[in-house]
Symmetry: C2
Subunit: 210 residues, 2 copies
Amino acid sequence: MKLYDMRQAPNPRRVRIFLAEKGVEIQREEVDIVSGANLNPGYLAINPRGVVPTLMLDDGQMLDESIAICRYIEGLHPEPNLFGASPWEAADVERWQRRMEFDGLFNVAAAFRNTAPAYAERGAPGAGPPTPAIPAMAERGQLLARQWLDRLEERLEGRDHIASDRFTIADITAFVCLDFAKWVGIRAGDQHPNVAAYHARIKARASSAA
Amino acid sequence: MKLYDMRQAPNPRRVRIFLAEKGVEIQREEVDIVSGANLNPGYLAINPRGVVPTLMLDDGQMLDESIAICRYIEGLHPEPNLFGASPWEAADVERWQRRMEFDGLFNVAAAFRNTAPAYAERGAPGAGPPTPAIPAMAERGQLLARQWLDRLEERLEGRDHIASDRFTIADITAFVCLDFAKWVGIRAGDQHPNVAAYHARIKARASSAA
């Protein structure tokens, strides 16, 4: 297998942390989204949507979408379980993973993509028609990402992890989003002691360096 | 269990179709998002994010996020399997489900929420600060939803279903999105014969009336 990756980008980082938690090593190839390498014909032949990460399997099948890649790895390497075991735990992890994505990651991404000069004509990720940056979308992203941070502070009151009572994929998404949010000036402040302590806890795991 | 539902809205419909495919009946209560009933204190006490659907369990636990609710039902009622069985199939279904959500549903929702008069100050769903409609975001949503439709046409060439080789949650999201897209004037045209035939096929299932 081979992972098309980008060192700086949040979604590939989720997969790298997941692999590190599983103790699985996969060959990686860097695709530089900032310069548009993901839109070159060579990469589009691998993934026509032009997004990373992409996992290329040994049989030539391609798999994209970070969480789908993680779920595939979970199927091949079930331990340690990171998507939940019982029906309730699997649903709880799914719910919180999605909240971290939709309320956190997507809003931070909206704030970032619609202000970063490199993406002035690529407000939406991947291949497709030009999508000029929309400043109002960046503002809304800022507003809602801050709401996500406040809600995360509440959620973490008396808890070590986001979902269930142990480390899961929901923590990977939350942690990656917290680091990504700094790019747009959003970080845990004095009013977010639970988030700050949580971030330090997850960062202390060896996988955080992935 | 009790499902907080909204007849017209696409996300609750996904859950209703899922339940119908499983042959599971759950008590339902209507929450009218258009008039803002989802933002009333009574509903916010049930789901502080103010979104539907929400599943209330008999033990008082609350579960939101459509796909998390569906995954919980899948855990309780494994057959017919709708999320994939083998590691590869589960990953393939996850990948396509997410593409249908992110490339389809989210873009149609952006086109809809940022133009519908009822949502002039609620461009983003759920509870939170006012989010005035962003016309440029609706335009981008239109553009990208049409790209999704074109890609779906390609995907369905020679295929009966979106993922794997059978009906799955990816088809539920795609079908619901195709109906939702009509609200913003996007529908399969002469250049989308595969999508039109696919829509008719899925609509012929009894669950489509749910």
